[in-house]
């Protein structure tokens, strides 16, 4: 194992070996279970209420995963990523481990790179956890089979799962944008909770501003503006241009905030 991957492995072990984070991941995984059981107990009578996927669950259990992702995207998933990314630098500063890491020495750019890589792994893991739990419980309670896309066409189980994987990828990239903001905020403070809350406020604030029609001129710049474009993966044909726009949008956030974190952290006096 190379030196870089050894440090990343150590970083992931810090994240995934921590009981607090297990609890957070458990909450994420519980949501699809609750959805599946609730739908099983009282099937929804309301068909076609938009892309909430709930009404499709009884037809194909795979939709539990999509419903859970759609429900967790506005709060639980960003919350989890904000907590982890807010902890990245501020957590080490708060414990006093940052000064020791830097004198090992770990180059500051390398530290940021490894921290961000770990955030990305966490974002992907959290998204896949929700999806996999949803698929497993959904198939167990409702069975699988062909899936009906939003545009009405039926696709095979395999293609359905492939499209679900695409949705997970898209959502994970959106969450990586949250992670980049979190990394930047985390480099500003020694309070990990404060950094996590600030990151979450920026995400929630983006949703709120997006809900105010009078602010439409700024909507295209908001973090969450294109998050719901993942639905384009469930149409026929796939809405590639909207997806690409969403990915570029998230990518811009990632580049800007990682660069800001690098500029800030690279020159910072470490007095923690």
């Amino acid at each position: 194992m190379s030196a870089a991957s050894r440090f990343l492995a150590s970083e992931l072990w810090l994240i995934f070996g921590r009981r607090r984070n297990w609890a957070g991941l458990a909450v994420l995984a519980v949501v699809p279970v609750i959805i599946a059981i609730a739908v099983k107990a009282s099937p929804p009578g309301r068909p076609g209420g938009g892309p909430d996927f709930i009404s499709s669950i009884t037809e194909n259990g795979m939709f539990v995963a999509l419903a859970a992702l759609a429900i967790e995207l506005p709060l639980f998933l960003p919350l989890a990523v904000a907590t982890i990314s807010g902890d990245a630098i501020a957590g080490e500063a708060n414990l006093g481990t940052l000064r020791y890491l830097l004198t090992v020495p770990v180059h500051r750019t390398r530290l940021l790179a490894v921290k961000y890589a770990a955030i990305v792994v966490f974002a992907v893991t959290a998204t896949l956890l929700v999806a996999v739990t949803g698929v497993v419980i959904g198939l167990a309670l409702f069975g699988g089979g062909e899936a009906t896309l939003l545009s009405g066409r039926q696709v095979s189980m395999g293609e359905g799962l492939l499209r679900l994987l695409g949705v997970c990828g898209y959502i994970a990239v959106c969450l990586c944008a949250v992670g980049a903001i979190g990394l930047f905020v985390s480099s500003l403070t020694e309070q990990p909770i404060g950094a996590a809350i600030a990151t979450l406020i920026l995400t929630m604030g983006s949703f709120i501003l997006h809900a105010i029609p009078e602010l439409e001129p700024i909507h295209p710049y908001l973090l969450t503006h294109l998050w719901l474009n993942f639905g384009d993966l469930l149409r026929d044909p796939v809405g590639w241009s909207d997806l690409r726009a969403g990915l570029l949008h998230a990518g811009a956030y990632i580049v800007v905030f990682c660069a800001a974190a690098w500029a800030r952290f690279g020159a910072k006096d470490i007095t923690s």
């Binding site: 030196a3 440090f7 006093g96 020495p105 006096d269």
Partner: protein
Amino acid sequence: MSGSAVGPAEADEASATTMPASPGVVVDVDEAGVPLDRAADVGEVGVPHAGRAGAGRVSGMSASRAVEASAGFAVETFGLTKRFGRQVAVDSIDLAVPAGSVYGFLGPNGSGKTTTIRLLLGLIRPTAGRHSMLGEPMPRGAGRVLPRVGALIEGPGFHTYLSGRDNLLRLDAADRTADRSTARARVDAALERVGLLAAARKRYRAYSLGMRQRLALAATLLSPRDLLILDEPTNGLDPQGTREVRALISSLARDGATVLLSTHLLSEVEQICTHVGVMHLGKLVAQAPLAELRAGVAPRAAVETSQPDEAAAVLRRLGLSDVDTAVDRATGVLGDLAPEKVVEALIHARVPVRGFSVLAPDLEDLFVSLTGEGFHVSG
């Protein structure tokens, strides 16, 4: 130990190690190839012989370390300055830590020691000045220098929910120069060396302050080091632990490492240091080999007698300097003279002696005179 007794005794020790130098103080400044003008800067602070900062290793030095010492300084700063807003935390200091020395970095709390250490390690950027470590300019050479430097900075800092061993493995994983295959063995060896192996699997959260301090010391021993920068290493340790840590530092120094030891404890300096630098209000007010500092505060002989003038005459005749009389006593700076010779001469001259004492030099008095206050907090 009186100041006058230090010189000859240690000179014997040094010459026994076949030093190619003159007796007494071993490696002279110019012989070591060290520019004398730097030493002259330090001389201005008014400590006797403070100019010999880079001069001789004083005791117990092996031949190989003598070579290292002549290679120069393990840490060297030039006008290093750090301002935080309007406050000057470190004010243009010229630190010179000779390679192979145990350098006591002394000063009251708040005098700028920790800020200096953070500057040395590149954690904070200087407002002005520059420095080098292990012969390389910093912070440019940090990637090559810091793996050879073990540091304890302002107390321990570890992940509370990991065990002591896991915390060290984490630090080792971050070190790109460390060999993964030997990590576990090195971690356990470091824990063993600080007496923490039995508690290796305990969570850090459950460690006492002394155990935490030991773990921080273990972290500095994960790989072979040429320089150890230890900020208050005995903080929080019980007397037994304090002795162990001092023995550990001495053994590291014997193995050839340079130790920069920041402390506010004079006893620590007296017991293990070869060189001393004194910080006060952000300034380096003195820097010299410990033996020279000691010599700077010469022991005085004090005679209690009903005939102080006669006693003073005897003292002068024996060559004591700065002879002074009071109503019932005479005192003088003893110099190299053995105290018993003085007593003998007094008796011989029929001076009635009621009491005789040697007022040994007290480092504390010296440091109080340098810092102008008790050893507590700088404002």
